[in-house]
């Protein structure tokens, strides 16, 4: 499992293909938002929503690479021979999790710096929402990436398949972010956290159980 993880990390650091593209994607998206909001005052609830729109689409543009790469390079067979499906699954999940966390830190830092109206009142709620949201996002994104890698129209299908699955998560994290900007305490946002945790656990365990069917061809 860690072998799969380190292999992906090393090959990513060698080419920097996904990272560079993702960073540029985030910068582009944020500048479009800045241009469209120039001179306008936008309500903080809308800004909390837009933050997650940026995170969702950045994740969608990058996370499918984990499995699509293997399929395109023709290295699936090698992985089949060398490791067990569960090692592949958790390795890829870990890669995606690291990628999502990196992405979210980047987006949030830029967002806080660049967007004037976005002020977070309670950082503990905000960070916890972000962390739990990243777990859920990574777990759903991994299994969908594995499915999409076997289909024909990979690029367009990925957000289409992911969106309905991520919708409960997205609504909850948007709510959590709104609570964080309104200065809610951890206890007040407890319901949100419980939904996020159960979501991540349910999706991860179901993906793990079903991954064999996707992986073995």
């Amino acid at each position: 499992m860690l072998g799969v993880f380190w292999k992906d990390v090393r090959s990513e650091l060698r080419t920097r293909y996904a990272l560079n593209a993702l960073i540029m994607f985030v910068v582009t998206t944020l500048s479009i938002i800045l241009f469209s909001m120039a001179g306008e005052t936008v309500g903080i609830d809308v800004l909390a929503g837009i933050l997650w729109v940026v995170i969702f689409f950045s994740a969608m543009s990058g996370l499918s690479r984990t499995f699509v790469n293997e399929e395109e390079r023709g290295t699936v067979m090698t992985l089949h021979l060398l490791t067990t499906p569960s090692a592949v699954f958790f390795g890829k999940l870990l890669v995606n999790l690291v990628l999502v966390l990196f992405l979210n830190v980047l987006i949030v830092v830029l967002y806080l710096l660049l967007i004037n109206g976005f002020v977070v009142q309670s950082y503990d709620v905000f960070v916890l929402t972000l962390l739990l949201g990243s777990f859920g996002l990574a777990s759903a994104a991994t299994i969908i990436a594995a499915i999409v890698a076997k289909a024909h129209t990979k690029g367009t299908l990925y957000p289409v398949l992911s969106f309905p699955i991520l919708l409960p998560l997205l609504m909850t994290v948007m709510n959590g972010t709104k609570l964080a900007t309104a200065g809610a305490s951890i206890a007040e946002a407890g319901g949100e956290f419980r939904i996020l945790i159960s979501y991540a656990v349910v999706v991860t365990s179901a993906s793990y159980l079903l991954f064999d069917f996707v992986w073995k061809d």
Partner: protein, 237 residues
């Protein structure tokens, strides 16, 4: 034609006639009079059609899920066929529930779409069905298509409870029975329905379910014949 098909026709006709024709009065004295519900009046009649359609959507989705799981366990192509047929029917009923609810919402809540939690959930069901069909059409190898779409249906199905059962209870909504409704916001929708309305409601529910079973067996048999014909044409051509 089997007896139960005729029976279903009569059953649903009676349900429709009763649901539409029984008068709604303030103080019901006879068994054929429905009590008035404040804020709903004559528009309360939608419950006899809209709710069963939404219910059938969920049943169809669960059946699709069940056969998807069956396929993964048995690798029987017939199970996959059933899964996709049930999904197709569920999609039809979901559209019916959405359209009927949306028209009703225009007259009761003032606009066609309000992002009420239940509207959000049916919207998500429509999205899941759409994504499911998009996935199916993008994979040509049959057993691969069956496997991947089953896996997708199961994972999507697991996220549905988050919507259908948690969201409407957590968020305030416009639907009768959701949080914020004056008639009580228990964890389960408490129908304050008159007994005669309940009878008609459950009759409609039963009728819709049997209708679904009929349509399901019909479409499964049609697709089986289609598959045989396709194979035969292949041999000739």
């Amino acid at each position: 034609m089997a007896w139960w098909k005729v029976g279903l026709g009569i059953w649903l006709t009676v349900v429709i006639v009763v649901a539409l024709s029984f008068p709604i009065v303030e103080y019901p004295k006879h068994w054929y009079e429905f009590p008035i519900i404040p804020g709903l009046e004559d528009r309360a009649r939608i419950i006899f059609f809209h709710v069963p359609a939404a219910w059938t959507t969920v049943v169809a989705f669960l059946v699709s899920l069940w056969y998807g799981a069956r396929y993964l366990a048995t690798k029987d192509p017939e199970a996959d066929n059933k899964s996709s047929m049930s999904a197709g029917l569920g999609f039809t009923f979901a559209i019916l529930a959405t359209i009927s609810g949306s028209i009703w919402a225009k007259f009761n809540w003032g606009s066609f779409w309000n992002w009420d939690p239940r509207e959000t959930s049916i919207f998500m069901l429509l999205l899941i069905y759409g994504a499911y069909f998009a996935l199916r059409s993008s994979i040509e190898v049959e057993d691969r298509r069956a496997r991947l779409s089953s896996v997708y249906a199961i994972i999507a199905g697991l996220t549905v409870p988050f919507f259908i059962f948690i969201m409407p209870r957590v968020m305030t909504g416009l639907h009768p029975g959701s949080k914020g409704d004056v008639q009580g916001a228990g964890p389960v929708v408490q129908f304050r329905m008159a007994p005669n309305m309940l009878v008609v409601f459950f009759a409609a529910l039963l009728g819709f379910t049997v209708l679904y079973v009929w349509l399901f067996s019909l479409s499964v048999r049609t697709s089986r014949v289609e598959a045989i014909l396709r194979r035969r044409n292949h041999k000739v051509g």
